[in-house]
């Protein structure tokens, strides 16, 4: 998951529309992710697109569009009763085009996803991040997210 902010005079958040992703967005999604992570994961995103953009009422793959150009995306779903948790919205990915950052587009996408989570019955939104992913963690912190009641544990399998 990655979000980077940089100067972008041409893409004010107020002029951005958010809509569900379409099959024709897939190439842009892969390109945005490649731009942010340096890794091209076309088959991964094809698989994720099939799962999250299928029209299921609790899965969301949203595109931020400026004019006709996709400039960012966010992906999430409502999941319930894992580890005893009531329905909660999970954010799995967020990305804003490199030259469109620092103008609140991430916030527009996050707010749009949260609105859909609320409509689907979720009372909480959560995500999971690498501890050293300071930029993206700062973004979620700026949205008011704090540590929740769960903690991730793991072990290397011999």
């Amino acid at each position: 998951m990655a979000i980077v902010h940089r100067k972008a005079e041409t893409v004010p958040a107020a002029e951005v529309a958010v809509r569900p992703a379409e099959a024709s967005d897939l190439a842009t999604i892969v390109a945005l992710d490649t731009e942010a992570t340096g890794l091209s994961k076309a088959s991964y995103w094809k698989d994720r697109f099939a799962w999250y953009a299928s029209g299921h009422k609790e899965r969301f793959f949203l595109i931020a569009e400026h004019g006709k150009e996709p400039v960012g995306f966010i992906v999430g779903e409502v999941r319930a009763w894992e580890f005893g948790s009531p329905p909660a919205g999970w954010v799995f990915a967020i990305n804003v085009k490199d030259d469109a950052r620092l103008h609140g587009l991430g916030t527009v996408l996050f707010d749009a996803l949260c609105a859909r989570f609320r409509k689907a019955g979720a009372k909480t939104v959560r995500t999971m991040l690498a501890k050293d992913a300071q930029v993206i963690m700062s973004f979620f912190r700026s949205q008011g997210m704090m540590a929740g009641p769960f903690i991730e544990l793991e072990k290397r399998l011999a």
Binding site: Q134, S138, R141, S142
Partner: protein, 154 residues
């Protein structure tokens, strides 16, 4: 986790100044808001000034003003000016640290330190100011709850 007094004062001062970056405040004004010593605050402000987070303005109406980027400066940035977060930064040894027990204990403590650093490095001053705003908006409710509690006890 507890912060040293100088660190807490620094966080309060920098938040107070960052809330309105164009405003100048004297050390006395900041000190009175938090009930802290002006002398202690003055030392802290000198450290913040050397780090480029605040600037001292001389003359009539002088005082201190925030100079950083509130969206980029994090709590960890401020804290590290005054104290280490995590294992002793001065390289001092802990009793038993090279024993299996000491190493096992260090692994567990490192886990806590890692989380502390990740948390503090992800909270910008701008995010802190939002949290302060939330706390301020809840103050009337808290005061009302305290009054109600006093009425019940009284």
């Amino acid at each position: 986790m507890r912060l040293q007094t100088a660190t807490r004062i620094a966080i309060f001062a920098v938040l107070e100044l960052a809330a309105e970056p164009e405003r100048q405040l004297s050390a006395a004004e900041i000190a009175s808001r938090f009930g802290i010593s002006v002398n202690h605050l003055a030392k802290v402000l000198r450290t913040l000034g050397r780090a480029g987070l605040v600037e001292a303005l001389r003359g009539v109406g002088g005082g201190y003003r925030f100079r950083g980027n509130a969206k980029r400066v994090t709590l960890l940035d401020v804290i590290l000016l005054f104290e280490p977060v995590g294992p002793a930064a001065d390289g001092s040894r802990e009793p038993g640290q090279d024993t299996p027990d000491g190493r096992a204990l260090r692994r567990v403590l490192n886990e806590i330190d890692d989380i502390a650093r990740a948390t503090l490095s992800s909270i910008s001053l701008a995010t802190m100011l939002k949290l302060v705003g939330q706390e301020k908006s809840q103050e009337p409710l808290r005061r009302a709850a305290r009054r109600a509690a006093v009425d019940v006890v009284g």
